[in-house]
């Protein structure tokens, strides 16, 4: 049986390519327990890199008993299993720093027999506090089976496209509503503000997608979205 990991990664201006959230599926509860992060896990120091969940939780778990076997879906900041962690880290790094494509609306497939294979799609979210006023994210589905992943190309790409479109729409909506609030700011002060930010990079600060979209449950929704994706391709 092939293994799949659904991952949202980000090119952090402080930490470089890093995983924000990844969702895995397993048919065993014991294995699901192994995939949970403990409280002593690596601390999340950066807002843009961190997995911001309600109530300060670190893991999301969904159990389904439909069908022949029970399925358990676990979302964490990064894979707790060493092999998966190394594989996903490398795939994320390549996705955000090595692989290139002219048209980011097209997904890219790459991988090897050491780390695994992935279908990834890069997208950008508008953020006035980011370098270049945008943040770069990678949404990917990784697998240890080249054939099984490629056979689900169509389904995976549609899922990626839909979620990216919805996230970008949420970010734009939140940005529009935020820009409408500060009435006291004049256009001139804004330009000075932008110029200062551009020259000094003084106003760059890490921001999470939760903040950008204004949706505190965003990563819970991501978990549900990844759950549906995993069910459809497994």
């Amino acid at each position: 049986m092939s293994n799949f990991i659904v991952c949202l990664a980000h090119f952090c201006e402080l930490h470089g390519p890093s995983t924000i959230v990844c969702t895995q599926m397993t048919s065993s509860e014991d294995r699901a327990q192994q995939q949970l992060l403990s409280s002593s896990s690596r601390p999340q120091t950066c807002a843009s890199c961190s997995l911001m969940l309600p109530s300060g939780a670190m893991n999301l778990v969904t159990k389904e008993n439909g069908g022949d076997e029970a399925k358990c879906f676990v979302s964490t900041h990064y894979p707790s299993l060493q092999q998966r962690y190394a594989a996903l880290t490398k795939l994320v790094m390549k996705s955000l720093s090595v692989e290139t494509t002219t048209d980011i609306s097209k997904p890219v497939f790459f991988g090897d027999a050491i780390s695994g294979y992935c279908i990834t799609k890069i997208f950008r979210a508008v953020d006035a506090n980011a370098r270049g006023s945008e943040r770069k994210y990678s949404l990917m589905v990784a697998s240890d089976s080249e054939n099984d992943l490629l056979s689900q190309w169509n389904t995976v790409t549609v899922y990626l496209n839909e979620l990216i479109a919805l996230i970008q729409k949420s970010v734009e909506t939140a940005a529009e509503s935020a820009s409408a609030e500060p009435i006291q700011k004049s256009a001139s002060s804004n330009s000075v503000f932008d110029n200062e930010r551009y020259l000094r990079r003084s106003m760059i600060k890490p921001r999470s997608l939760v903040e950008l979209t204004g949706d505190k449950d965003l990563f819970v929704k991501f978990h549900l979205w990844a759950l549906e994706l995993l069910k459809d391709i497994s």
Partner: protein, 1087 residues
């Protein structure tokens, strides 16, 4: 200049860019590089869109039994422009900004253009640039995709990438959508860095590629002078200290796509294993070539180089023995491989690979459908096993010479049929009298006569079954398939049918295909059965391409089919007035009296020139005298003009055979799945035949006039100035009765025959075909006249299974053929995503660190109408309807109908008669051994082929096996060279350098003897076994097994004799005893 401009602009030239290149070799000699443009100047066997559609011109019945659908539109071939295929080899020399291009197939085209442009004046170059600008992507852009930008990586293992390239717009060739497949690999002298392709990891994450490759480090001692004599000598497995030399190279395949995303699945992903294999072979070839270049000294390289692109950078001083190793990095000059003809030939192989694997439709797995319908009595798919049994009995009757008449009513209806045809078509003339007496006395099957004749010629099909049934699980696996785990033994099994008539071969393929299981397919049918009703019950499912309702669609698999046929059949005066649907009755082969015949069938038989059954010729060679046939058939063939060319080719045949040969060939080519290639090669197109068929109608009109004047028949036909029924028969698949001894692949002759008004009426409709053809003739004609591409109207012909050329969609929805799978799935996913993102999730806190999230219930609050539907008009109301499961795609097994050349990637295929076919098959088998032994670490590898010659009526088992691991090391280096010689090129001969030369192949053995000889060559131990299992005079099969199979055949025949066809077709509604018996018999063969 203008001449060149117009030439490039001419539609003919443009269309010539499509299709697999058969004429490529003609251009190769004219190339200044020793190999021509190949694909860019090829003739175009599938050039125009029209000729590409030829793939679909099989009759609906043949399509249904073979492919599971009567809709030809689902099997339409894609058209690729060969100019857009491209192979690029680049090198990472260490610079972040620039990469060295070692080979670029598009450069050859440009250089030829430059040469031509220089001779025509300065302005021609500019015009050429206008014409070819943006034909290909910039090489720097391609290098960026292949190697990536940004961080340099230090890797040694192979990496695979897939990029969708931005579309290019060309003034001549239009928009070019293409995909880039990249293979990154290293050449290193470090043993530690190289390994078998797949790294073993823990149980939770075990990455594995489609096909592994064994990367072998090369040995480099620092001095290259002594290695010039043998570039391969001591190149591998260095025992000396390594120099830590490592360089990264990439291979890029650019493959055009016709329709973007949808073609990615059909063209690339479905054939991913085959493309991966191609990449492995190409990688082997390039590594071998580069290492040989590395071991030459710089001066010899310069002297040898004639390419204008070779620019050895003299600014770098070599730091080791080779001038190409600088700072422990291999740095070849640009275009160092550009002159290599072997790499150039890979482009042609790539084009052929994509064309054949994409455009030849795979057969539906009828084994699963039959098993499933036997398990589910009321299944709408029951026609599959009924047709299968009928075809099996047909074969036994007409090809094996058994008296397998179906029911006394049929015999009574066509009294002369069996008597004459059995005596004529029985290959064993000594026994013809007994068959004649059997048929004439009772008109039924004689068990004693059936089982008594176990002398080989009487048991062809049973013998074939006895061979194939034990192998069918091995046949269910792709030839190129690697699975993790057990590496003790690997088996590859193929069945190759060499035939002169694809129509007959397809009947046999259909029967054999019923034996090949596909567990995944079967489970998908089973699972999807629940969703079937829900999905098909949807009235709201729409498609972008059509908004028509499906209410009028008739299901070809419906049990009601029989009644439909029956009603049609009763319109004929000559059809017995029983309630049996004549669509599945045996068709009269020859009428003794034509005077009172006014039915359609009778009019057809009236003009039938041949009274030869669909029987394999008994002679073993092509030149055998056919005098007995001549004496019987000669009188019917006098009016047929035959071209001189055809006569010359067929000089050894009698006139009557030539007649059958021509007629058969014309119609067979129409039905051949790949005949479009052959037709186009010779200038013939479907339109030509279609137009010519009008001329033929003039002859047929006379004979069919009576039938058309019958009001019962007229109600189903149009009268539009020409006789549509004749046109139908000119386009329909010919009867298997017309199995010619040769298949004419000359469209000129075929066209001549048609144009001269010869009757294309040597048809004898099979019992399951005839009425279906008639019933669908109206639809067929109506659509055919209007639009070639739209000749199958779904409403009237009713496509059965929603499928593509290489895949089938689940649930197998018989009424949802209008649903576009991608549109449907996209809408489902979109609704799911919207439902998730727009609604607050529900979760509870398990502990301080974990949240338990409730899964989203998309059907919460949905209208419980009992149906699952998708409402495209109200995406904002996601909870209004239940959300259906996604339509899943299942890739079909590599089992095809007919191909004009042997393709090793298919497990079951029929090929044109070719004296080299057997050697091509054996070459492919050797490559199996080498690939799986070297790259996949299998200890024992066995490759076998069941080789069936329909003409010689022979079954031969060819088996190659290897398992000696002691010589593993000596295998690796030479085998690299071997793989590069025959990567899916069935026509290539294996060279002697691989240790598996032709001399080692066991020659054909005497009948019934199994020669075994172990060939101890310098590199590889393998064993070749060629066993003739069945010939006309000997039968080396397991007698008990054959008898058991024949007994099953006999019982099946009894069932179909003793019950009316309507009884059989209504198995799902009653008659438990009959159903149980039939189920038991079929399961004994299918499971």
């Amino acid at each position: 200049m203008l001449g060149r401009l117009f030439k490039q602009n001419s539609p003919q030239t443009q269309s010539n860019g499509y299709g697999p290149s058969s004429a490529t070799s003609n251009n190769q000699s004219s190339s200044p590089y020793g190999i021509g443009l190949g694909a860019t100047k090829t003739s175009s066997p599938g050039a125009s869109g029209i000729s590409n559609n030829l793939n679909s011109y099989e009759d609906s019945y043949t399509r249904e039994i073979l492919y599971g659908t009567s809709a030809a539109s689902q099997l339409q071939p894609s058209s690729f422009n060969n100019k857009f295929f491209r192979i690029v080899v680049s090198q990472d020399g260490g610079s972040l900004r620039t990469k060295q291009v070692l080979f670029d197939s598009s450069m050859l085209e440009n250089s030829q253009g430059k040469t031509a442009g220089a001779s025509q004046g300065p302005s021609s170059s500019a015009s050429r640039n206008i014409m070819t600008s943006k034909l290909h992507h910039n090489i720097n852009e391609i290098n960026d995709y292949m190697f990536g930008c940004g961080l340099p990586t230090n890797e040694h293992h192979c990496t695979t990438k897939l990029h969708i390239l931005p579309a290019l717009n060309n003034q001549v060739y239009g928009t070019n959508r293409s995909i880039l497949i990249t293979r990154l690999f290293s050449i290193s002298d470090n043993n530690d860095s190289m390994s078998f392709g797949d790294a073993s990891t823990d149980e939770y994450w075990h990455p594995h590629s489609s096909l592994p490759i064994r990367q072998v480090p090369f040995k480099y001692g620092g001095k290259s002078g002594n290695q010039n004599d043998s570039p391969y000598k001591d190149m591998y497995y260095s025992d000396t200290k390594t120099n830590n030399i490592n360089s990264r190279f990439s291979i890029g395949l650019i493959i055009p796509l016709e329709n973007g995303d949808q073609d990615i699945t059909e063209t690339i992903l479905t054939n991913w294993n085959e493309i991966s294999y191609f990449m492995i072979v190409l990688q082997r070839l390039i590594v071998k070539t580069l290492i040989s270049v590395l071991h030459r000294n710089a001066s010899s390289l310069i002297n040898e180089s004639t390419s204008p692109y070779n620019r050895i950078d003299q600014g770098h001083s070599p730091t080791s023995g080779s001038p190409f190793i600088i700072n422990k990095r291999i740095q070849f000059p640009n275009y160092v491989l550009q002159n290599n003809p072997e790499i150039h030939s890979q482009l042609i192989k790539l084009i052929k690979l994509i064309h054949y694997d994409t455009n030849i439709p795979k057969l539906i797995n009828s084994n699963s459908l039959m098993k499933w319908s036997l398990q589910n009595r009321e299944s709408e798919l029951s026609a599959f096993y009924i047709n299968w049994v009928f075809e099996l009995l047909n074969w036994l009757e007409y090809k094996d010479g058994k008296a397998m008449s179906l029911g006394s009513g049929n015999i009574a209806n066509c009294p002369a049929k069996s008597n004459q045809n059995f005596s004529v078509y029985n290959n064993n003339f000594e026994n013809s009298e007994s068959h004649l007496s059997n048929a004439s006395n009772s008109g039924s099957f004689s068990p004693s006569g059936f089982s008594r004749d176990f002398n080989g010629s009487k048991s062809f099909l049973a013998s074939l079954f006895s061979v194939l049934i034990p192998l069918r699980h091995s046949l269910a696996k792709r030839p190129l398939y690697y699975e993790e785990g057990n590496k003790a033994h690997k088996e590859v099994t193929r069945v190759v049918i060499m035939t002169g008539n694809p129509v007959v071969a397809k009947k046999l393929l259909f029967i054999i295909n019923g034996l090949i299981p596909d567990e995944k397919f079967y489970s998908s049918v089973d699972i999807s059965s629940d969703a079937l009703g829900a999905l098909t019950g949807s009235e709201e499912v729409k498609s972008e391409d059509t908004g028509e309702s499906d209410k009028g669609a008739e299901n070809p698999y419906s049990p009601n089919l029989g009644s439909k046929f029956a009603s049609q059949g009763n319109s004929s005066d000559n059809i017995p007035s029983t309630s049996e649907p004549t669509g599945i009755k045996p068709i009269p082969i020859k009428r003794t009296s034509l005077a009172n015949d006014n039915s359609f069938e009778n009019s057809l038989s009236k003009s039938a020139a041949s009274n030869k059954g669909w029987e394999i010729a008994s002679k073993s060679t092509a030149s055998t005298s056919t005098a007995p046939y001549q004496s019987r058939i000669e009188s019917n063939t006098t009016a047929i003009p035959i071209t001189q060319k055809a006569q010359a080719q067929r000089s050894s045949l009698s006139k009557s055979q030539s007649m059958a040969y021509l007629s058969s060939s014309l119609n067979s080519s129409l039905s051949s799945s790949t005949s479009n290639y052959s037709l186009s090669k010779l200038g013939g197109t479907f339109i030509d035949k279609w137009k010519n068929s009008f001329g033929a109608n003039q002859y047929q009109n006379y004979h069919t006039s009576n039938s058309m004047t019958n009001p019962d028949n007229m109600e189903h036909h149009h009268s539009n100035g020409f006789n549509m029924m004749n046109l139908l028969y000119s386009l329909r698949t010919p009867s298997p009765a017309l199995e010619g001894d040769e298949y004419l692949w000359n469209s000129d002759s075929a066209n001549t025959v048609s144009a001269s008004g010869s009757p294309l009426n040597n048809h004898r409709i099979t019992r399951t075909t005839s009425m279906q053809e008639i019933s669908s003739s109206t639809n067929f004609m109506h659509n055919k006249r209007g639009n070639v591409a739209d000749f199958e109207h779904p409403k009237l012909t009713g496509p059965g299974v929603k499928r593509t050329k290489s895949g089938v969609y689940f649930p197998i929805s018989l009424k949802s053929e209008k649903v576009d799978r991608m549109v449907f799935n996209s809408s489902i996913i979109k609704r799911k995503c919207n439902a998730i993102m727009n609604v607050a999730p529900k979760f509870t806190s398990d502990d301080m660190k974990t949240l338990l999230v409730n899964p989203k219930n998309f059907n919460e609050g949905a209208e419980d109408s009992g149906t699952t539907s998708l409402d495209f008009d109200s995406p904002e109301k996601p909870s209004q309807h239940r959300i259906a499961p996604l339509i899943q795609r299942h890739t079909l097994q590599p089992v095809i109908g007919f191909t004009d050349e042997f393709r090793p990637e298919f497990t079951l295929q029929s090929c044109l008669i070719n004296p080299k076919l057997e050697s091509q098959v054996m070459n492919a088998m050797k490559n199996d051994l080498i690939f799986y032994h070297n790259n996949c670490e299998y200890v024992n590898v066995t490759s076998r082929t069941v080789f069936v010659s329909l003409r010689a009526r022979e079954i031969k088992m060819i088996e190659l096996s290897t398992g000696d691991r002691n010589h593993f090391n000596s295998l690796s280096a030479p085998s690299n060279a071997d793989e590069s010689h025959s990567p899916y090129d069935s026509n290539s001969e294996t060279t002697s350098s691989n240790g598996m030369s032709r001399d080692n192949v066991q020659s054909k053995s005497p009948i019934g003897i199994t020669p075994k000889r172990t060939n101890y060559t310098s590199h590889l131990n393998y064993r070749t076994t060629i066993k003739k299992i069945f010939t006309q005079t000997r039968n080396a099969c397991d007698v008990d097994k054959v008898n058991q199979i024949e007994k099953t055949f006999e019982e099946l025949n009894k069932i179909f004799q003793s019950h009316t066809t309507s009884d059989i077709e209504k198995l799902g509604m009653g008659n438990n005893e009959l159903y149980g018996k039939l189920r038991r018999l079929l399961n004994s063969m299918l499971n």
